[in-house]
C-alpha cells in the first residue's frame, strides 16, 4: 500500500539532506573521540541519515509503483507566501497591513473562497488580531510602519 515512489523519493531526499550535512560537517574541526570537535557528532548523524536514506531507496525499488499524488499547487504557493510576505512587510508597513496581507493571501488558498468573503474575513480577522495582540496583550509592534508615514 505504500507506493514505490514515496519510499524512493523519501530515500533520495534523506540522502541529499545527509550529503549537505556531511559537506557542512567536513568544513568543521572534527577533533578526537576524547575531545570531539564541532564536526564530529553531526558527521556521524549525517552518515546515519544517508545510510537510512539508501535503505529506504532500496526498499522503494522492490515495491510496485504508486498512484499519482494530489497536490493543491495553488494553495501551496499561497500558504507558503503568506508568512513570507508577513516577514517582508511587518517592519516596513507595520502590523496592521501585514496581518491583513496574511489573511487576504491565505484566504484564496481555498477553492471555496469568494472575493467578498475574503474581504470580509480580512477585515474581521485583522480587527480581531489587533484587538487581541496590540490592545489586549500589548505587543510592542508598530501598527503602521515607517513606509507608511510620509
Amino acid at each position: 500500500m505504500i507506493g514505490r515512489r514515496k519510499d524512493l523519493s523519501a530515500g533520495i531526499l534523506f540522502i541529499v539532506i545527509g550529503a549537505l550535512f556531511v559537506y557542512g560537517a567536513l568544513g568543521q574541526e572534527l577533533g578526537t573521540p576524547i575531545r570531539m570537535g564541532p564536526g564530529f557528532f553531526p558527521l556521524i548523524l549525517a552518515g546515519v541519515l544517508i545510510l537510512l536514506g539508501a535503505l529506504l531507496f532500496l526498499q522503494g525499488l522492490r515495491q510496485p509503483s504508486a498512484e499519482p499524488m494530489v497536490v493543491p499547487w495553488w494553495g501551496l504557493v499561497l500558504i507558503l507566501l503568506a508568512p513570507t510576505v508577513f516577514g517582508l512587510t511587518v517592519q516596513g508597513l507595520g502590523l496592521l497591513p501585514a496581518v491583513a496581507l496574511v489573511v487576504l493571501i491565505s484566504a484564496f488558498a481555498s477553492s471555496r473562497m469568494s472575493a467578498w468573503l475574503a474581504l470580509l474575513l480580512t477585515i474581521g480577522l485583522t480587527v480581531f488580531c489587533i484587538l487581541v495582540f496590540s490592545v489586549g496583550l500589548g505587543l510592542p509592534i508598530r501598527l503602521l510602519g515607517p513606509w507608511l508615514s510620509l
Binding site: 564541532p38 548523524l45 508568512p83 471555496r112
Partner: protein, 502 residues
Amino acid sequence: MDLLANLGLGFATALTPVNIAYCFVGTLLGTLIGVLPGIGPTATIAMLLPITLSLSPVTALIMLAGIYYGAQYGGSTTAILVNLPGESSSAVTAIDGYQMARQGRAGTALATAALGSFFAGTVATLVVAIFAPPLTAIALQFGPAEYFALMMLGLITAVALAHGSILKALAMVTLGLLLGLVGTDIYTGAPRFTLGYPELADGLNFVAVAVGVFGIAEILRNLENEHEREVVAQEVRGLLPSGEDLRRMVAPILRGTALGSILGVLPGGGHILASFASYTIEKRISKTPERFGHGAIEGVAAPESANNAAAQTSFIPMLTLGIPSNPVMALMIGAMIIQGITPGPNVVTDEPALFWGIIVSMWVGNLLLVILNLPLIGLWVRLLKVPYYVLFPAILAFSAIGIYSINSNTFDLFAVAVFGLLGYVLLKFECEPAPLLLGFVLGPMLEEHLRRAMIISRGDATVFFTRPLSAALLAIAVLVLIVVLLPNVARKREQVFQEEDA
C-alpha cells in the same frame, strides 16, 4: 506525610485566582481546538508559546498544560458527533461513540466520555504526584552517560510508536537531531550549518520549526480535499447515563485508566496507543464483542479514560528528567527554557511551587472540563459548522504574529515557510513529523552529554556499557528496536495503525 504537604503547596499555587483563570482559558482553548479538526494541540501551543512569555512561569505552564489535556476532551466531542476525530487519540472513540449518537444516545456518549476522562484524570494526577519525586531522586544520580543512554531510549521508543515505516521514523529522528545542531557550537563557539546567516547563530527557532512541520503542513494536507462536515446530533439531550449505563462503564473506565497511566509514560504518542490498546482489550474480554462497533458504551468509556490518563502521565518524564515524551512535552520544555527554568530533576527542589502547582492544576483543569464541557456542548456543536476556509487564515495570522513576537526576527517567518514546505513534502512521503520534532529538541542535549561523557571517560566509548544504569537503558533501547523490527511484530504493528487510521 510529604505527599500531603506537597499537594497542599500545589493547591495553594494552582488555586490563586490568576492561575485558575489561566487554567480555565487553557482548557477552554484546548477544548476548542480539540473540537475543530485540522488544528491540534502541538500547533496551538507552539503559536501561543510566545504570548505566555508575559505571564509568570507557573501560570504559563498551567495554561499550556490545560490546552493539551483540554484537546483530548474536545477531540472526543467531535469524534462522537461528527465521526471525525478532532485529535488522533480520539479516533477509536469515533467507532462506537458515533454509532451511539446515531441511535440518539449522543448525550450519554458525551457524558460517558466526560466522566471517564475526569476519573482517569484524577487518578493520573495522583500517579504523577506519587511517582514523580522518587524518579527525580534517581535522576539526580545520573551522569552524562546515563543521560545519553536515556535519551537514546526515548528516541528509539518514539520511533517504535510512530505511525508507519520504522525506517522513515528513524530517518526523521536523525534529521531532527541534525537540525537541532544548527547554530553555535557550545564548546568551541564555531558556527555550524548557519549558511552564513547570523540569525542562525542561536539555532533554528523551535517554534518556527514546530509551526512549519505541524501547522503549515497540516493546513496543506487539509486543502487537498475540502469537504463539508456533517453534524449528526443537532440537539443533544439526555446527558445523564442510566443506571444500566453506569454499571457497564465502571470496569472499562478502571481498566482504561490503569492502562493509560502506564502507556502515557512511554515516549512517543503514548495517549494514541493507550486509547487504541484499551479498546482492543475491552473488545477481547467482553462477553458480547459483537456489540462493539454498533454503539457499545464500553467502547467509549475505556479509550476516553485511557487517553486522558496517558495525557497526564506523559508529564512524568518531562517533569522529572527534563526529557520530552512527545512533541507537546517538547514544547513545554521549550516554554520552561524561555522562562529561564532549566528542565530536569532540579525543578522539583528548586521550584517546588511550579512543580506541584502544575500537577494540581491538572486536576483542577479536569474538574473545570467536566463543568465546562457538558453544558457547553451546544456551543461546540455550533462551532463545528465553522468552515475550514475561515479557520486556516486565522491560524496563519495568529502564527505569524506569535512567531514574530518571540524575537522580532523576520528571519523566523521565512523559516516557517521553508519548514512548512519540508514538512508537507515529508508528509507526502508518509514520514510522520513527531519524531523529527523530538529529535530537534533532544539534538543539542544528546550531543552535549555524549561529548561530556567521552571527556570524563578519556575517550573510552565503553563507558556507556560499563556503567550499569546506562548499559541497562541502552540494552532496553536495542531490545525495543529489535522487537519492532521482528517480522511478526512489524506486521501486527502495521495492522494496529491501519485500524487506528480507519
